[in-house]
Amino acid sequence: MTTKTLGGLSPVVSLTIGVATMVAALGFALVVGETRIPLDVIWNVLRFEFGFMAPKVNPIDHGILWSYRLPRAIVAMACGMSLALSGVVLQALLRNPLSDPYILGLSAGASTGAVAVAILGFGAGALTLSGGAFIGAMLAFGFVAWLARLARGNSGTATSSLALLLAGVAGAQLFHALTALIIAKSADANQARGIMFWMMGNLSGSRWPDVYLAVPIALAGAGVIFAHFRALDAMTFGREAAQTMGIRTGLVMAVLLSVTALLTAVMVSLTGAIGFVGLVVPHAMRFLVGVRHVRLIPATALAGGIFLILADIGARVLIPGQTLPIGVVTALVGAPTFAVILVRSSRAHSG
């Protein structure tokens, strides 16, 4: 076959390696954290939780491992997976390699929803920050979709991706402005700071209920996206070409855009807006496994999960005694990586 594969490995082998790496990353997240917990304690907690006999462990250590570190790592995995997959889908559908999950206004809307709850008091205490963020994100997406429809008018196919991109920019700017307005008008010093820290991405506070929400949604979303791998390949030469290959592009776009909006809105509402994952991981995976989505989708999902687990560990241990916002870590890794990929791939495939 002519396509690149990761060192020429068969799909089954690559998949196994990918999943094994993911499990190893989860293990790493259990072992490494803000404070030191000895390995035998970790082992005992795991044995206990999986139903085996094990010596009693200090309840604080037990709680840290099982109620803090493990759910946090799993949420990081689900979030990384979802963001990376959203990036892959949007880059394919919008024909724009710079697309990231927030390009349709989702993170801007989430911020507005969050500050509306936290600063304006929307929802009168019944709504949490996360709830407000989710609603804000979906509202922004709805607004962008509606705006794109208007902009597209009757001309049909070729301009719809462009219309979406432009509407996304407009929508994001609008919601950013709303957020800034709310903060400027009504926040006191402490609140503004609290919101901004959250908006930069924050996995602290992830507990098992968050896992029960994030993981099924991430897996379901991944399933739907993978089922469309041929349609995503067909979009290579644009929407019209895909139609001539028999793809119902209108339906496919509606389904996939909705799925990515949902995935992104859920993740952003749980963890804030973590950048660079949705942008860089797809490109890195294209560089390693090629552009065919049958490989790219699973590779991106695994890589995104692993990346965010490791980034979260980094955010907690890079500076002793302090937690960096995770968006800083993903940017510190993502930006140079993106630059390297850019240079290497332009050398690889231009004339």
Partner: protein, 316 residues
């Protein structure tokens, strides 16, 4: 004693000169408002803004006669409209290089002098860290300095001296009581609030008022950051196992963790925090949030802590 005029005061990087005591003042920030009431200057107040909690009961009557321009950030025009002879601000956040009401120059251009509560700029770099980073440990000296300077500005330096003397006596008394307990290996955590319920909380750093209070009382702060209110993970806090946990009592209800009941419920139900010694033994103290800022309330905060520590020691 009377005050000599003209009076020049160095305040947060500006030299302000007064030819005569100002006829009126607008106070932005509960700390400076209450400081002015404490100095008996309530009748000089043309307006107040930014209130975190209810005014201290002993000032309720005089405060009722003063116009409240805004519970939160007032507009520049609303302040200037009062034609004040002076504008005081608790934080540079409100009146300062990036002030949300305006810059100091904006006021000075209109011949309105500004005075920033010294606690916000002495030994602190407001450009680093979201709430500013303290370079040196704060002490009550900055609170006293604020009271003294305000009384000088208004030409009644004797009121400042009296007020400071009273507070100093109480401060020393509280510290002595704490020292008398002979506590060793005692540590504490001050929990202000959290943006999201289970997420990393905002806790007091080394060098703000809570840090000062702990040092004076011979208590170690489990948090070792120079930021005024850093976020620290519950994992780190739990492993540090503080002897006392102090919860901020806020009136604001914007973050779920603002409410005392919510903070207490977290401590009782969180799988890690509920196992902390301080929680199991009931060594959780509720303290007025405003006492955690460097204001006149800090002294009563100190007294309250000393009281509770005495009670605790008695029951051991």
């Amino acid at each position: 004693m009377a005050q000599d005029f003209p009076l020049t005061i160095e305040n947060c990087g500006h030299e302000i000169t007064f030819e005569a005591p100002p006829a009126s003042v607008v106070s932005i920030g509960q700390a400076t408002s209450e400081a002015l009431y404490f100095l008996g200057l309530g009748d000089k107040l043309a307006g107040t803004a930014v209130w975190f909690t209810d005014v201290l009961p002993q000032f309720a009557e005089v405060n009722a006669k003063v116009e409240r321009l805004a519970d939160n950030t007032p507009s520049f025009e609303a302040v200037v409209n009062k034609h004040p002879g002076l504008v005081t601000s608790q934080y540079e956040w409100y009146v300062g290089p990036k002030g949300s009401v305006g810059t100091r120059e904006q006021f000075h251009d209109l011949s309105v002098p500004t005075y920033i509560w010294p606690a916000d700029c002495v030994g602190k770099d407001n450009s680093v860290g979201v709430d500013g980073t303290r370079e040196e440990l704060i002490s009550t000296e900055v609170i006293y300095r604020g009271l003294i300077e305000l009384s000088q500005i208004f030409g009644v330096p004797e009121k400042g001296q009296t007020a400071v003397a009273e507070l100093k006596t109480r401060e020393v008394a509280a510290i002595d009581r704490a020292k008398a307990l002979g506590l060793q290996d005692t540590s504490a955590l001050f929990w202000f609030s959290s943006a999201k319920m289970d997420a990393d909380p905002y806790v007091a750093g080394e060098k703000g008022a809570p840090g000062f209070m702990m040092k004076q009382l011979g208590i170690e702060n489990v948090v070792q950051s120079s930021e005024e209110w850093p976020t620290v993970g519950w994992e780190t806090i739990a492993k540090a196992d503080p002897t006392y946990i102090v919860l901020a009592d806020l009136q604001r209800r914007k973050f779920p963790a603002d409410a005392i009941e919510v903070k207490q419920e977290f401590l009782q139900t969180d799988p890690v925090a509920s196992h902390m010694d301080a929680v199991k033994a009931g060594r959780v103290i509720v303290l007025d949030a405003h006492a955690m800022d460097s204001t006149i309330r800090t002294i009563s905060g100190l007294e309250l802590l000393a009281n509770i520590m005495e009670q605790q020691a008695a029951t051991q």
